[in-house]
Symmetry: D2
Subunit: 287 residues, 4 copies
């Protein structure tokens, strides 16, 4: 019989004090867990301790159903905020898209290749254009046309659909509508957006045009958790590519698309692997 | 006897029209010049043609003293703006610095190694700290303490000094004073500044602190020609380096210093090689 | 009526001498052509001149059917090797693939988005696995199982198929069979391969394992024209990504896939845009 | 009175087993140490656990003189290989150089700026050229001309000098002599070399010429611990820069110098910060 390779992941943060690393590692060791990954970070200015620890459940003495309760004692002692995840849980992810398909296609292809340990039961769009492409890959396609008047009502329906589908993660793959504060709050730190610039440079619309006008020599893309303030959320990942005076706006768009795809996919992978902790308006990425 | 390898460089721009490439290349060919580098760019939106062409003076039929006059006919026919440079001219460069020495040292070391075909007769600073270091490498050190009250008078003296010393290029190597509009205008497109961020992100002061607060995953440096508007001039070169949550502000400063040095040195080299054309608020870099 | 934006592209090389730039540009100007891109390179050691020039056919006085003949006089005068291309010709491209689908999918998605000005009438594989995926996107799928014994015969059939389909470009998208010298010669400088390392490091099989063993801190991918000698052909494009001790072989594979996709796609785009000149075992890329 | 910020650093490795993280962290916690950095890595294939842990000595109950002894019990229990360092120890570093000064100058400038927490009492060279430069910055300059005949004898003198000067780290800053196996063994994992290529590509001499011949699109530099086999030692850091057909060999040399400087300086910093663990022929870099 194959060995059980399921792992548990703890993501935790609290005020920094002595004994934190010992406290958690001793808890795992005492219960016969084998740590396969542990990483921590101390934000000295903020006096904050953040940790990710992952261990194998095989031979672990606490049944997984009782694990959260068992850890709670330690968490309360140190005043920790914490999340517990199991590696065999398959998160459910929805993709929001408008008309530009490069990020969507990239995510669907990665999903098909097994790169994400996630399901993508549905795709939501404010345009009908990409229905056939999406359905070829499997997910249901839900078309919600949005106007100024219908926006609130449509968003309400979307939220209902997401709840019914037990969605864990919302990915905005160049979705050109701004989500309401209510939507964003409801899925706090579970909405990943891709912005087509090297934030905080060129926030808002038409960043490639802005980059062209400014004459920058490098362009970028930024994935971040969506917050109420547009393009201001915690940054997960960024990458850049060199450009020159030879690059017209369409060239920037083309080069940028390759950045957007990869930066978004990396952010989604990191999130699905429970490797991101948000604190304040920043992320700690335990990669 | 060694062959004369001196070259002439034309940097020109004009409204795009047919015959421009032929006009210039035919002029050089007819006079028996051998082109060693030619590159052009058409900004289609702006309808602008920009060119750099470099050819050997050996065997060229027009004596260098008459070359500018000879080319003027072509330039006027096409309505060109143009500059003519000779590769054996050794430009004279001044470095402005405050207290941070990394860019200054880097430039002096490069100069010592023969990386720049330029002289550095003097260094100007608003602090006395770096005098010994500078004098070790050769240049004169001029200390101009600056207060709000003395600033205009000191700048006047600096300009006089620069004129006496026949300075061609001003390099602001982390000089923490803002030059007046008059100064900047007088040395238009001949003042290179290094800004310690990936502009237009984090203009103004303390960009590393700003980058830390925002939680970016990449930081950068930008060299640009100084203009009256702070940090808004034509960008010459940029580069970036990856950072993470592990990097404190001092880490960003340390990583950034290596960027600043290299980005500034590249910009200075490109300028000294007559490889930059400014148009509007942008540069064409013929590298 | 919309203006004809079709362009002609000349790619040429010859021994360097005076008058080459003038010769070509004067030919275009005299016949009323508007140059939209011109770039040249002199390999001084090799004494070789290489040029790409592109001009609009609208208003050009020589009909395209007579253009090649008209240019031949100049070409012969200078002893040029040259190619003439028209921008409205749609090249036909075949993709060879084995079982790994990331490069294939990426190319098909780009084709669907209109990123390539090319047709992909067929995909050839030595495995049946990817048939459904390919057919979803449109191309025919041809399955040629290959054993040591059948290899020569199968390759013969493939060549026939490619000839019937009038294929201009062969893309090896992680095709795990080595093509014969005869095949490679027949499609000289028209077969683009992607190698999953930063050549010349780690040629041959299992480069990610080799990279892991060696403990490198950066991995890469290389696209090159296939030649008889494996992994030795002229390099078109390379890119790299940082790795660390935390990256296992599967991590390297995963990170590398994103490199391979992008490096291969860039090479294909450059080739389709007639921007590559091969000389000796090197390329000049006029980007 | 200012708080004592001295820290202790443990670098350890052993066969992976349960309780390792708990063992060390519990030891530190029990003795009232505050962990400021802890990072570990498990090489699953090799079954090896590697860790770096750093904690403040202020309030730590074990005096530093007794710390090694106190930890030995834990180390022996787990069969650990380990090193203990204190942050207030100032390592002594020697630079070996030949004629190329860019790496040497860069290290001296960084030292002057306080970037390294190290002393550089002496520089050794097989050429007299750089004496004045070095002495300006402070270190003694020792000139050891080396011929085939004198090499062994000169190396013997160098080793004596290094021992007298209590040298902790040898930095080969483009030193063009190959050190003997005896020398390398004596300073095992304490000799850092910079190789001017992206190893394992282009080992041996003249890598820029080789890179030019091969027509690569990216060049690199590699810092590694010197071992008996030339250019085969554990890699510490690498970096790369893009090149094109426009770059001649001197251009590659010039671009490469900037890489060499930075890659070497990073490696030296990491070593001085006790952030590198060597195992097999690889490094774990806890940055």
């Amino acid at each position: 019989m194959a060995r059980d390779t399921t792992t548990a992941v703890l993501l935790l943060s609290c005020q920094d004090k002595k004994g934190l690393v010992a406290g958690t590692s001793e808890f795992i060791y005492r219960n016969n867990g084998n740590i396969v990954h542990a990483d921590q970070h101390v934000d000295i200015e903020a006096g904050l301790f953040l940790q990710r620890v992952e261990w194998e459940l095989a031979d672990f003495r606490i049944p997984r159903a009782e694990l959260a309760d068992a850890f709670r004692a330690i968490a309360e002692k140190f005043g920790m905020q914490w999340e517990l995840h199991f590696s065999d849980y398959v998160p459910r992810m929805v993709i929001f898209v408008s008309k530009l398909e490069h990020c969507l296609s990239d995510l669907l292809v990665r999903q098909r290749m097994g790169e994400f340990a996630a399901e993508i039961p549905l795709v939501i769009s404010n345009h009908p254009d990409l229905q056939q492409l999406v359905e070829t890959f499997g997910p249901e396609y839900h078309f919600y046309p949005v106007t100024k008047e219908t926006k609130a009502a449509q968003e309400k329906k979307q939220i209902e659909l997401l709840q019914e589908a037990r969605i864990d993660l919302v990915v905005l793959a160049r979705y050109m509508q701004i989500l309401s504060g209510e939507f964003v709050t409801r899925f706090g730190n579970r909405i990943i957006n891709i912005h087509h610039s090297f934030l905080p440079a060129f926030p808002g619309g038409r960043p490639y045009h802005q980059a062209y006008e400014r004459g920058v020599k490098i362009i970028g893309a930024t994935s971040h958790y969506a917050t109420e303030e547009l393009d201001q959320g915690p940054i997960i990942e960024q990458d850049v590519v060199r450009v020159s005076h030879r690059d017209s706006v369409p060239d920037l768009v083309r080069k940028g698309k390759d950045l957007e795809k990869i930066v978004l996919a990396r952010a989604v992978s990191l999130h699905l692997g429970n490797r991101i902790l948000v604190y304040g308006n920043k992320t700690v990425v335990f990669d």
